[in-house]
Structures are given as structure tokens and as C-alpha cells.
Point group: C2
Chain length 338, copies 2
DNA sequence: CTGAAAGCGCTAACAT
DNA sequence: ATGTTAGCGCTTTCAG
């Protein structure tokens, strides 16, 4: 592994010039820049990250804090963020919080403090005040995705609006008895998301002159299994059952479709179902959904971080643009039975 | 952020002693060790990773190379590996290869060379010779999971045996016409896995005195959608259709079950289905499967790396123990119709 | 068991 | 535009 001085010698310049030529910081004449790059290429020189970090205080690495990995939303965000970081020459260090409380604490009190990351990306997580404080104490750029973190710029879809639009779709088809499978206010996910989606649902109903019926709401845990169980309860009484169900996630919506099948209900003839997510399986099951694009959310979060890390590198991406969510109509929704 | 000298001053020792006391390398009297630890705690001292890495050549960081993130198997391995690394005080830097060829190349030719990782964990990936060579050139411990990488110790289930056992389960129930939904030899995944699973299937049939019928084999892409399409073809002719299907992944098996439903075939009365994976959805759908445990595979791979990184830290985990795979019988398999 | 001191390989003033 | 040089904050010989 050749060092920077080997490159300097081969190119006939000083190490400082090599550093400047390769990093792009500081002025170097085009001619020498090329000479240096060629020398580096020839020797297979790659900068030593620890040495560079120690000297400059920059790591070219972003820490990403994730509650779970094996959930579609998170892994999709991660995929998008990872690709975007790679393009920018940044590494991605992953901190999973799925483990026990001790490990979780060590992430905030130890791992993130090692001067290993230039910034932090926090995916929908309900952080304790103390954890949030550790993050802010880092004095580094932070961007959140999903849940609102107090004091942290956050990228998030407008949950109220998305739920409203989903409900509106059902109302527009003529449905009047619309059930909802919502989120539980569990401590794992963000507190507000379930509440906001329910608010949007109720708002849409009221706009249509309908009073939300609490008996038509069932909480579940965002999984297929949970959605199935909730749907069984929602659909069990033929006389009182809704003609349409709005589920706060695609997986719950799929559980609902499967429950309907098992109850002998035809979707969409006897029951319409709509979800939120744009999950990869939604297409296969013909599920109408409000598609969000987690991969792009990850990319966009990275752009925000890059804007903070390299001010003026280009016009900063406008902050606070709401994330796009599109209604994708498939076969699971139709007018109610006559 | 206090430095090591602040701790040394407070504890009344030299920085060398602080380093030894905190890292565990070198001898320190119990008394001073405690004094140092207390001083560090009191000041909230955390070692600077770049400085430590530069001086020691160690990074306490592992690079993990992953082809895709949003696939159950990979994200589960990652979850397990991440937790195990955290427990060992290691960071996990993620290199996703889902992007374009350029980005993929930069991972091997640039990112991994920055002296940022002490070792590499490579998840089932078909690497080019050149890529493999870059890894080996790092002169660092490498462990693979899944696909066999030439020259790299690899953790892998015995695909032939697992497929044989799955097929045996069906044979044991009395099935004689057993179809298979296998993998395509795509370039994304490892080459051998699809072939090996098919071999095990054919081996089991021959052991039972049955000649494999090529018409009962259909390739697919390991997804629900692909499994569904393959199953439609496999099951379309009532007279020639198999009474049981072995799918090389749970997702394809689920696709098969859904296809059977759509064709009006009762599972398991008219069709038995078995998969491989132990996917989180298998339980919900009542799918019989050969469960592998990707999370534990991730943990075990980390143990192997730790054994190489810290020889003699404890008795090394025995290498080459085959990974456990268990038959989990659920409602999707039963004796064939009389 | 502990301390003194020489780097680890690079970057960023400061000069020129 | 380029060179000189003093660190960056730790670890690790080498002494004692």
C-alpha cells in the first residue's frame, strides 16, 4: 500500500499538492492535477481514511440509526440512502437498535461518539429525550426520516393528508361504511403516525358528512398477521360490516384481503380494500394503495445531509417539500354493492 | 470532548496507561485500571476512532458487502450480524451492490481499500474474479455467507441435503408425483444454490425409485410473483399435475399456494406445498418449510471473524459445522388424495 | 506495572 | 500554484 509521499515522489510534487489534487480542496493547476492523478492511479494509491480523518476532522462516513432491518420500509430507505451515499463518496455505518436496551444505550453513549461519522440519519424511531440529546450533542448534521424528531429536520410524508386521500378514494367510489385498520400506539414506532393516519381518515369522513364510528376502527401491528386478525373482527358481522376498509399499511391491507377471502367475501365486489405504502407485493395482490417511495426518501435525506456538509456545493435541495405519495388504483377497490 | 490526556491528568497517570487500561492491551494494575475507568466515565471520554486506528492499524469496524437489502434473507443476516458486532464493540459499514456497475466497481477499488475495515463479510454474491481478488488483496479476514467463494471460508447450509430432506418429507407422506419450483441460474444470485437444490430433489426421488420428470420442474426468480407464475404452469393440466410441490424458497412456495387457491385446488388436500427458508410469513400461511436461521448465520459469521481478529480470545468456534436447518411441518403438506 | 517519546499518514495553515 | 511544517489524538516500543 503506497502512501501519499510515494505518489508525491512519482509525480514530482509535494504531499500537500497531492492531497489538494486528489481531494479537490485548494487550487492545483490542471496539468499537475492530471500528473498526480496518473501517479496515484499507477501506484494504486487510496487515501488512508483514519489518517485523513485525524488530520481533517472529516470522516466521509454517515451513521444511520435504524430500529429494524427486516421491514420493507426500513430496508428500502436504507437501500436508497446507501446508493446515494456511495455516489457521494461516503460510507454508511449502520446502527441497528433491534437488540436489547444495553446495546441500544451503547450506540448512543459510545459508538456514535467515536468521531466516526460526519452526520447521522435517523429512521423513524421514537427516541428518548436522553438519546435525542446525545445526538444533538454530537453537534453534527442530523436528518430524520418518518417520525418527527423534535429539533431535527425531518423528511416525512403527510400522514394526515395521505389517509384523507385514501379515504376520499373510497368515498368517491360511493362507500359510506368505511372501516379502518390502524396502528397501535406501540412504543416501537413513532407515536404520531398511527394517530395522524386515523385523523386523516376521520377528517375525510366528516367532510363527507359522515360521523366516524369507533366500532369500525381496529388497531393492529402493521403486519399481515395483525391485519388479518383485525379484519376478522371488523368483518365478522354481515349486517354491521363495512363495505370498504382503509388499512394504514399495505401489509395490514393484504391481511385484510386474505381475511375477506377466508370469510367468502369477494374483493372488490363485496369489500374494497386500500392500503398505504406501495409495498412490492401490492401489485401482485392487486392492492390499491397510496404509494410512498422509501428508496427516494433515503436518497433525499442524503441530499439534505450533503447540503449541510458541503454548503454551496450546489444549490441546496429545497427543504420541507412534502414527499410525494401517489394513489395507485388496482383491483381491490370498486363501488360498493348495490 | 475530552482527550486521552485529560483522562490521564485526572487519573494521575500517563496517557500510555490510560490507553492500556481502557483497551485491555497490556498490563495495568487493577487499582489504576479502576481509577482510569472512573476518570474516563466522569469526563465522558470516548476514544477517537480515527486517532486510534491511525496509531494501531485497527479500526474496530467490519465491512459487509450485500447484493440487496430489501430481501428477507439478506436483511435478516444483516440484523444478526449487526447485533453480534455491536456486542463485540465493532461497527458495521454497509456496502450495497444493488447500484450500477460503476458504483459496484468503486466499492471494490476504492471504498474497501481506505483502511476503514478490519475484515469483510460477504453475503451471497457472485463475485467476478477481479472483485474476489481485490478482497483477497486486502489481506484481511473474510467470511462469506451463502454462496461458496473460492478461497474464502464460507458459512452455508447444505443445499443438496436440505432439498433432499424437503423432498423426503413429501415422499414420506406418500407422494409420487412431486414437482419443483427451482431457481433460475440468474447472475444475481449464486450459481450453485439453484443447481444444488435441484440435485437434492432429484437425488431424493431416485432414492425412492422415481425418475425425475423434467416437465415437473419450473424455474422462477425466488419471489412470490415468480412462484405464482411457475405454479400456474405446473398445475394447469389436471391430469398431469403433481400432487405435491417443493419450492426452493418460501416466497415461491407462497406463490404456489396462492396459485393453487386460484385454480380451486385445496392445499393440502389436493396439493401439498413445502418451501425453504422459515420466512416470517410462512407461519401465517401455514406453510411447511425447511427453516434456516439467517439471523444466526449472521451471528455465527461474526464469531468466525472475531476468532480470526482476536486469536486465543477464547476457544475458537468450530468452523465448518453445517448450519442447522429444521423441518417445520405446518398445514400445507399432507398425504396425497386417494 | 508504568512513563517517555516516537510515530501512524495525512491535511491545512503559513510561506513563498 | 506549490512547498514547508506543525499537528490531528492515539498506540506502542523501549526503558526503567
Amino acid at each position: 500500500m503506497p502512501g501519499i509521499d510515494a505518489v508525491a515522489r512519482l509525480a514530482g510534487v509535494s504531499t500537500a499538492t497531492v492531497s489538494r489534487a486528489l481531494s479537490g480542496n485548494g487550487h492545483v493547476s490542471p496539468a499537475t492535477r492530471i500528473r498526480v492523478q496518473e501517479a496515484a492511479r499507477q501506484l494504486g494509491y487510496v487515501v488512508s481514511s483514519p489518517a485523513s480523518s485525524l488530520a481533517s476532522g472529516r470522516t466521509k462516513n454517515i451513521g444511520v440509526v435504524v430500529p429494524f432491518l427486516n421491514r420493507w420500509f426500513y430496508s428500502s430507505v436504507l437501500e436508497g440512502a446507501g446508493a446515494a451515499l456511495l455516489r457521494n463518496g461516503y460510507d454508511l455505518t449502520l446502527y441497528g437498535l433491534a437488540g436489547g436496551a444495553d446495546e441500544r444505550r451503547s450506540v448512543f453513549e459510545h459508538f456514535l461518539l467515536r468521531k466516526r461519522v460526519d452526520a447521522v440519519l435517523a429512521l423513524t424511531i421514537e427516541l428518548t429525550n436522553r438519546e435525542l440529546q446525545s445526538l444533538l450533542d454530537l453537534q453534527k448534521p442530523i436528518v430524520g426520516i418518518g417520525g418527527p424528531l423534535v429539533g431535527v429536520p425531518t423528511l416525512s410524508i403527510d400522514d394526515v393528508d395521505v389517509a384523507r386521500r385514501a379515504t376520499d378514494h373510497l368515498l368517491g367510489l360511493g362507500h359510506r361504511r368505511i372501516g379502518m385498520i390502524g396502528g397501535e400506539s406501540g412504543f416501537e414506532l413513532d407515536f404520531h403516525l398511527p394517530t395522524n393516519r386515523r385523523s386523516g381518515y376521520e377528517f375525510a369522513l366528516r367532510q363527507a358528512g359522515l360521523e366516524p364510528d369507533p366500532g369500525l376502527f381496529r388497531p393492529a401491528d402493521f403486519t399481515i398477521t395483525g391485519g388479518y386478525a383485525a379484519a376478522r373482527l371488523l368483518l365478522e358481522h354481515p349486517l354491521t360490516r363495512p363495505t370498504a376498509v382503509f388499512a394504514a399499511s399495505d401489509e395490514m391491507a393484504l391481511g385484510c384481503m386474505l381475511a375477506a377471502r377466508d370469510l367468502g367475501l369477494n374483493v372488490p365486489r363485496e369489500l374494497s380494500v386500500i392500503g398505504i405504502d406501495g409495498h412490492e407485493y401490492a401489485e401482485f395482490f392487486g392492492l390499491t394503495t397510496m404509494a410512498q417511495y422509501p428508496g427516494r426518501q433515503g436518497e433525499q435525506a442524503v441530499e439534505m445531509l450533503m447540503d449541510q456538509l458541503h454548503p454551496g456545493r450546489r444549490e441546496a435541495a429545497p427543504a420541507n417539500v412534502p414527499l410525494p405519495v401517489e394513489l395507485v388504483v388496482r383491483g381491490s377497490t370498486a363501488p360498493p354493492p348495490a
